[in-house]
Symmetry: C2
Subunit: 93 residues, 2 copies
Amino acid sequence: MIKHNSYFDEKVQSLGFEGKTQPVSVGVMEAGEYRFGTEAAERMQVITGALVVLLPGSSDWQRFSAGQSFDVPANSAFDLKVEETSAYACFYG
Amino acid sequence: MIKHNSYFDEKVQSLGFEGKTQPVSVGVMEAGEYRFGTEAAERMQVITGALVVLLPGSSDWQRFSAGQSFDVPANSAFDLKVEETSAYACFYG
């Protein structure tokens, strides 16, 4: 089953599903600034556009572009700046 | 604006948006067999899982896995077999 989720006034939307080995979602973020909490650890992969990320424990914003990915620990939170509408995939656990 | 689309009894869902240079959608397909028509030409990129595709004018099914992509001409149709829930990005025009 595919689950459609909508956050931040529909400016972030995702489609979640059970992948072969782990839960996965693909999604789109419009330009904006967002803060997300994690339960499971997750790896985010940028598909189009770019995500500028402040990872937990870091004081430096890092830019990730199409094809790049970054890891976020479980039970944490991270901040994102999105300058153009961007697509991502997220792999949990 | 992000547009949520649902096809084939919700077994295929996508999120469409205007990318920097062209319209884009990211989506998920559950296991099944589907036939899609195109208006604009499109490039499909597999994000997770695999798509087995019969392209227009071809008599051979081809398998595309995560990271691979294929092109579909405008105003045509193509058949897909999906063996496990798979995610894709589609770039139009």
